[in-house]
Symmetry: C2
DNA sequence: ACAGAATAGGGCAAAGTGACTAATGGGACG
DNA sequence: CGTCCCATTAGTCACTTTGCCCTATTCTGT
């Protein structure tokens, strides 16, 4: 259990703008002392406000320019076994359990169409997987972003107000 | 146009393990000189091997613990107008143009079910949007990761081999 | 008004950075 | 075979940043 105040949000904002800023630079930009920035950053990290660095690595740079979402339909009681198998496939970069008709939404990156076909085959080969529906991402029309949300949260809450968070389930 | 060699991949790997490593630390870990690390990091950044810092911010910390994928069906010739409108919605953190029956796959984060309902309504209100299908992410069964792929790419290519990449379309 | 937390401000030794040089070792190419 | 080019190494230097210490001064909620 932790809570972010307005200054924390401004810190995150500044980091989005200039990820490599030093503590001193952040302190200057926000008009705080370096100690304060340092303490807050430590707390932010402590409270899992940051996700893994993996997210910042461009799959394109790794020779995997194609992104696809694969909807997986499966026998639900084999779910954990299937997830364990899918974890072995390096091209699967993320997978969500879903509500609704699709059980699993899998995010894969691949080198080309053949590669995608191969990966899809590997998923289908898992015991308990009924069928898959593959959708190719044609373009990232809205590139991943969090700053608009950051701004809204900052604006909505009053200066001294807090955003109460329970982050422990993400740890 | 750029290419990553094995050392670049190892660098990225090390960064995933310890995102806050200094250049000296990276140099020690990889058995390189600091200058080399510094030069390579500069090249990596230059060639867009890193995505925006936004990706590392945990929406849960912002009070948005719910993630949902919304499939949007729309009149294709209004696509660009619709995307422009969706860009105004801060809870939309990403959107992909898709192949197949769904035109747009939108990733949203929200505070609770009511919030999701409201956002879905906002999307539906856009001129040219025919209908939406909302799927709630029940859990991130495979948390976003790139290291397995990193390892595979490193292993596959020989020591001196290169991964040829054209990153300019991501810039 | 009070207790506890957050902050500013200062200081200091250690570490890291950015920018530069010169030397080394391959590879590619004529 | 020699030569050019490039990445790398190793070293230096001035400068900045860090990590950690401390204390006095606001805030904050009760």
């Amino acid at each position: 259990m932790h809570s972010l105040d307005r200054v924390d949000l401004q810190l995150l904002r500044a980091l989005c703008v200039e990820p490599r800023s030093t503590f001193v630079a952040l302190a200057q930009r926000l008009g705080l002392s370096r100690n304060t920035v340092q303490a807050r950053m430590a707390r932010l990290e402590e409270s899992n406000a940051f996700l893994a660095f993996d997210r910042r690595i461009n799959p394109i740079a790794l020779g995997h320019p194609l992104t696809a979402f694969i909807q997986v339909h499966l026998q639900q009681k084999r779910l954990s076994q299937i997830v364990a198998e899918l974890t072995q496939i390096p091209e699967i970069v993320q997978a969500h359990g879903m509500s609704g008709s699709t059980d699993l939404l899998v995010l894969v990156v691949c080198t080309d169409a053949d590669d995608l076909f191969r990966i899809d085959g590997t998923i289908l080969a898992c015991e308990g997987v009924d069928r898959t529906e593959t959708s190719l991402a044609m373009g990232e029309l809205i590139p991943y972003r969090i700053t608009p949300l950051l701004d809204r949260v900052t604006r909505e809450r009053g200066p001294a107000n807090r955003v109460d968070v329970d982050i422990d389930d993400e740890a």
